[in-house]
Each structure stands twice: as C-alpha cells, then as structure tokens.
Symmetry: C2
Subunit: 423 residues, 2 copies
C-alpha cells in the first residue's frame, strides 16, 4: 500500500515553523509497520493545494493531509478537498452541534466563523477530534483515500492514533494487532547495539518481530515492532525476544517505553524517601534542570550548585579543610560530594567535576569527567575521558552523571566502560 | 520566479530526523525576498527521485535539491540528475583533486568510494563546498535550473549562502544587494509589535524595506529586509527605518542581528569586570545554563544555586538573620540576592523566586515571579504574574530574569510592563 503525506500552510512552507508534524506522522506509521513513500509541502494557496491533491490521488492508495482545517479564510483544505473529489461542501449538523457543545463547556459562545469548520465534502466520513474544533474527515480523491487532519500537534496526534492508524492498518490488510516495545540505553553506540542484538529477530519463527533503532545522542532507543493475531499472541511472541534484549544489553538499559532516565532516578530516590544535592562544574546545571521540573522533585531535590572553577565549587559546598582542593580527580569529586551532602543535609549527593582540555573548541576537544556519588553508607566515583567538542562533552557528562546515579541507586556497577569514552 | 525544494533521504522520509534543512533553506530565501512555492520529500529510491526531478522540472524555474551527494550506495542524486537531464555521468578531475587535497590536509588517504562524489552530470556547473567532500552542482532539468546541495547542515549552509542565493537573485532579476536587519525583543507580543510599527515600511518612498516577524516565545524577532542598488544605497534606506524601530520599541530591544540576550548580559558584566551570583527557585537553573557555557563566563559567573523551597533557598545563600523568610515577595527576593552576593563575594546577584498557583498543571496555571538584582550601590526588584501552564511560566520567568538583568546593567527601568504578564 502506497501512502503519501501532504503538509499545508504558509508557516511551514516559509520556514516560520519547523515541520515536526511530518516527522511525527511518519514515525508513527513506521512504528506499526507502514511506510510513507512521498511527502509534499504546499502553502495556503488554492492552485497548489488542488494540484497536490490531484497528483497524490493518482499515485497513492492513502494520503494524510495535515493542516488547513481552521476557521480562518486561509484554511482551505475542506474547500479544495471537495473540488478535487468533485462534490459540494455541505454542512455537517452533527459536527456543528459538537462544536457548539465544545464552546458551551468552556462558557463561551461559538464565533460565527467557526461554522466553516463543519462544512465538509459531501459524503465525507467524519474523523472525531475530541480535543478541538477542527473536524477531521476522510474522502476519496482519484484512486486514493484521503485523511484530513488538523495542524495543531496535540489534535493531530489523537486523531492519527485513534482514527487513522487503525483505518490504514485495516486497509493495508496487515494483522490488526501491532505493538511497539522500546528500550532506552546509554553507553552503547548504534552499530555496537546492532551487533549485540544479531539474530534477535530470528527468535520469533514467523518473523513477526522487527528490530529498529533511533539514536538521539547520548541515548539510544531500541525498538521491537511485534505483529500478532491479538494482544495475547503479541505478548507471547515478544516475551522471549525482550528477555534476550535485556540479557544482552544488561545494565545499559536505563528505562523502557515511556519512562525516562530522570524519572527513573527520581522514583528510586522517592521510594527510599531520599534527598539529593547536586554539584555541577561544566554541565551548566543541566543535570539539575533534567530533574527539578519533574513532579515530586520538590520532596527530593535539596539543592543544585553550579560553579566554573574548583575553588568556587569548594566555597559553594562549604569546604573548610586546611588542605585546599586543586586537582580535579576522583578523590576531589568524592570530597566535594561529601561536603555537599553535609552542607545540605541531603541523604545523597552527586558531584560532576570536569578537567577540560586547553585551547579553543574543536572536533577533538575533550575533557576528563570526574564524578562521585555519596550516601550515608558509601561513596563511589568514576573518571571518564570524553571527546567531540565542548557541546558534545557537555551532553555526555550530563548523561553520564545521571546514569551513574541510576546505576548506584539500582546497585549496579557505576564504572562499566561506555562506547563514548576514550581509554 | 517559481522556486521548489526537493529533500531526499530515508532518514528524513521515515522521520528518523526532523527536516530542519528545509526550514533553513526557505527562511534564507525569504530573508532575501525569494519564496519557495512547493516542497517534496522522497527517499533514497531511484524511481521516486526521477519522478520528483521531472515534476519539479516541469513546474519550476529553479529547484534546490538537498541530500544524496555522499559516497555510499544509497546516495543517488548525481546518478538520477544525469538521467533526468539526459546526459552521462563524467568524472570531474578538478573536484577529485580537491577531495584528495582535503584528505591530505587531514593526513588521511582518500577511501576509493569517495571517488563517486566527483562523478557529475556532463556539463554541470560545480558549486564549491569548502567544508566537505560532497560536490555541489547545477544542471538544467526540464525548464528549471537545479541546484544540488549536501545534506550535512553546515555544508548546506555555506553553499546556499555563498553559491546559490547569489545565483537565484541574479536569475530572478532582483536587485543584487539585499540586507537583512534583525531586532530581538522580549515583552511585546507579535500583534502588538505589528501595531507599534504601523507605517514603518512607508518611510522608504520606493517600498524597498519589508517588515516581517518571527515569534519564538518568549522572544520576538523583527526583521527588516532592505533592497538596494548597492550596500551604500541599502544603508541609506535602512537608516531612517531602523532609527524609527528603535524609537518605537525603546527599551524592549534586547539585542540586534546575531547578538543574544545572554551574550549582551555577559558582555555588560565583563566590561565592568563584574561577577555574578544567581539564585533560582523554579527555573531549574535555566538562567545559569544560558550564561555558563558562553566563552568568558568563567571570569564572570561566580555561582548558581537552584532550590525548590524558600527555606532551602535561604540555607543555600547562608541566610543567618533571626527572622526567617517565609513569604515570597519583592523584599524576600532582595534579601536573598543580598545574601547570595555576600556569600559568594560577587559584585552582582540576581535572585528569581516564585510563588506558584495551587493545583495541577493546566492552561491557566500561573505564578508570581519575584526577582531582585543587587550590586554594590543599589537593589531593584519586580513582581510579575505570568500564566499559561508550568512550562510556559518557566520559560517566561527565565527570560524575565535575564532581561531585567540586561535592563539593570544598561540603566533602563526594570519594571516596565510586558504583554505577557497579568495585572
């Protein structure tokens, strides 16, 4: 089945906004085993829209159109859809009522120009939008079924997942139940991960499990797409494969599915009613920033400190020993973490210090990251050299700090070698 | 002149990466008064590429193709360009030499598969790539001139600006000299800014100055595109208009052109050999994060502290008065900033405290932001209510804190009302 996507709107065509809706749509389809063959972007202009609809209607079996369903004069999707389909625009009484109810619930009266959003091509199938006033719809143009979706991202997402993906799967004749299992890891590069998981797809004798990756440095997302008769069949097929992935990746899996590294760390701390102090030297406070905005953080995060040289770091944590710390190494990180824990009364402290290379930023610019984690009963530390330019080093140091904290809280070794460090 | 863009590559078509190259290309063209009429994305697949080239060649006068110039087997742009143009692929000796020199300068030997990058359609015009091995080129397909560019963003950018934009301007018959002047502001919404600048384009009697906006909350970018015979003519036309923009926006202009708010703040501090302590309560340390990674920050930023409740904030800055601070207001912000300045020995301190609404996150969730700036000779403070959900409030509070610091350092009032606050 050939699927195309048409994105509409002057804001996208002129680059005022980056087209993240398209990458969302195509990823969602890939996740259920469907592929987009062609994408077209046109502006809010009748001639271009009509031509784009006609061309896609000649080539494709299914077309997703995004945008142009709003109440203003530059929203033209329904009008041009009707023209391309060779039908009239007619008022959909059902959608009009739904819109009026939508405004009533918000104690507002529907402005007259919203009525336009209930004008659909005659014979169109309504695609529900439970979170907005833009009515989705499906209609045939040429040899393709066209699915019209709103440009507002959260409205698009609901409609795509609940209304359109099931229709596309049914149309494609693919088995109805598809499940996406995701693992998040840090420290294994994509090609290494690929090699580690050699043969994993063959565990399922029917080839119903497909492996994929999405790298967003520093983390790697590993995806298993599983097809089955029903959810029970999917679970049965997935179980031996996910067990094997967990075994081969071992301690490198930091979260699964919708979980995040920072949420896992915060949950571990919360479960033991622990509190945390953070000291950061080069990471601009980005470790704190990843944790502080999460719900429940106010009970856990005691204090975060950022300073740019070691003397200032020591002053900030109230280091009052006769011997000043001048060298950045594992011992210094432990001493700083201990002092931060003492100064704040937190149960745990993480210190991430850094010894940067000399000179200007360049692709082989690097640093030694020295980090330590202390709690009431012990202290651990690690030293890693990371290269790749200042921003790259900063990203790596943030992830390394958070991931070592996760490992410490889960009783896993914090010094396992990662692919991104130099030896 | 009708311009189209074709983006190629499975990574873009499957959503593995978001297509920021397209928004970059179309913005750059808009900035010089050119418009993109149509965009197509296709994968690394011969049939789709050929069809996309043929269709665009029928419709457009100029087509920019992005991607597919690499050394691997899935890089097909030269091959399909030759086929669509009806010519052979021939080795470009000049580019082969340039590539070999490129590798020699890096003390490496050119791998054999890079030779493919010097195979161009016969008669193609070479577009130089001073920062990579992918050779850009221009060739006629159908009635359009096609410009082929590399997918690597920094290579694309150089080639677009230095090689392609001048050719497009010449081809379009637009006057050769076009200049883009940009103003960055915080606190004025787009429609308010538009109203403030009414009639600004008419200052130039020949209509050679065009006004535009790009909103990236919380900042607004105001753009003046000026066309002239030469740079002197451009400057003469721009001068009265930019003077008027500065007058109407007044203190709200925080930076111009490539300058940023954080760079302006850091430069102001650096010029007076000042140093800064930061205390943040809800902004996750994002104010510190904006400043700390800039070059020169190590001489200026003394310490940043993040804490989530006022008692912990006070402990972190060593508040040792008999009376504890319990209420979050302007006086509390001043007291905290004073204590932070004293504790760190910095010349300046900024404290941003927050009094959040009760309850869960929602679209009308808000907060009172109380901030204070102190230096050796005085203290200023401000209280603003911002609503729009937690993330929105956080973004607003970061910008407000930084911008008030900019105003303080530039001897401007820190309490001017902004469009994003409720009264």
């Amino acid at each position: 089945m050939r699927i195309e996507v048409i994105c509409t709107g002057d804001e996208v065509l002129t680059g005022k906004i980056v087209n993240t809706n398209f990458s969302y749509i195509t990823q969602k389809l890939e996740d259920v085993g469907l592929s987009v063959a062609w994408e077209t972007t046109v502006g809010d202009d009748r001639e271009s829209l009509l031509l784009a609809f006609q061309l896609a209607g000649q080539r494709a079996d299914a077309v997703i159109v995004n945008g142009g369903l709003g109440p203003t004069v530059d929203d033209l999707s329904q009008e041009i859809a009707a023209k391309a389909a060779g039908v009239e625009l007619v008022l959909d009484e059902g959608w009009l009522e739904q819109m009026e109810a939508f405004f009533r619930r918000r104690n507002r009266i529907m402005p007259p120009n919203n009525r336009k959003q209930a004008m659909l091509p005659e014979g169109a199938e309504v695609l529900d939008n439970p979170v907005g006033t833009a009515c989705g719809f499906a209609v045939d143009i040429g040899r393709a079924r066209f699915y019209f979706t709103p440009g507002v991202p959260r409205e698009l997402r609901r409609m795509l997942e609940e209304q359109i993906v099931p229709r596309l799967l049914a149309k494609s004749g693919l088995q109805a139940t598809i499940y996406l299992k995701r693992f998040h890891s840090y420290g294994i590069g994509e090609s290494h991960a690929d090699a580690l998981l050699t043969g994993i797809e063959e565990i399922d004798p029917d080839g119903a499990v497909k492996l994929g990756f999405r790298a967003h440095y520093p983390q790697l997302e590993t995806k298993l797409t599983v097809r089955g008769k029903d959810m029970e069949d999917v679970r049965r097929r997935l179980e031996p494969v996910e067990r094997e992935v967990r075994k081969r990746f071992g301690n490198f899996i930091l979260a699964e599915d919708d979980q995040t590294l920072e949420r896992v760390v915060l949950d571990e701390l919360q479960q033991r009613r622990a509190s945390l102090a953070l000291v950061e030297m080069f990471t601009s406070g980005q470790i704190a920033a990843r944790l502080v905005h999460l719900s429940g953080a106010e009970k856990v995060i005691r204090r975060g400190v950022v300073a740019l040289d070691i003397a200032e770091v020591c002053a900030a944590v109230g280091w009052n020993q006769a011997e000043p710390i001048t060298r950045i190494d594992r011992e210094a990180a432990e001493a700083v973490a201990l002092a931060a824990r003492a100064a704040t009364g937190a149960t745990h402290a993480l210190a991430v210090l850094i010894d940067l290379d000399e000179g200007t930023d360049r692709i082989d610019f690097g640093a030694s990251v020295c980090l330590a984690i202390v709690s009431g009963h012990d202290a651990v530390s690690r030293r890693s050299r990371i290269v790749g330019g200042r921003d790259w080093v900063r990203l790596g140091a943030v992830e390394l700090g958070l991931d070592c904290l996760r490992r410490y809280l889960q009783d896993l070794p914090v010094d396992e070698r990662i692919d991104f460090e130099k030896v």
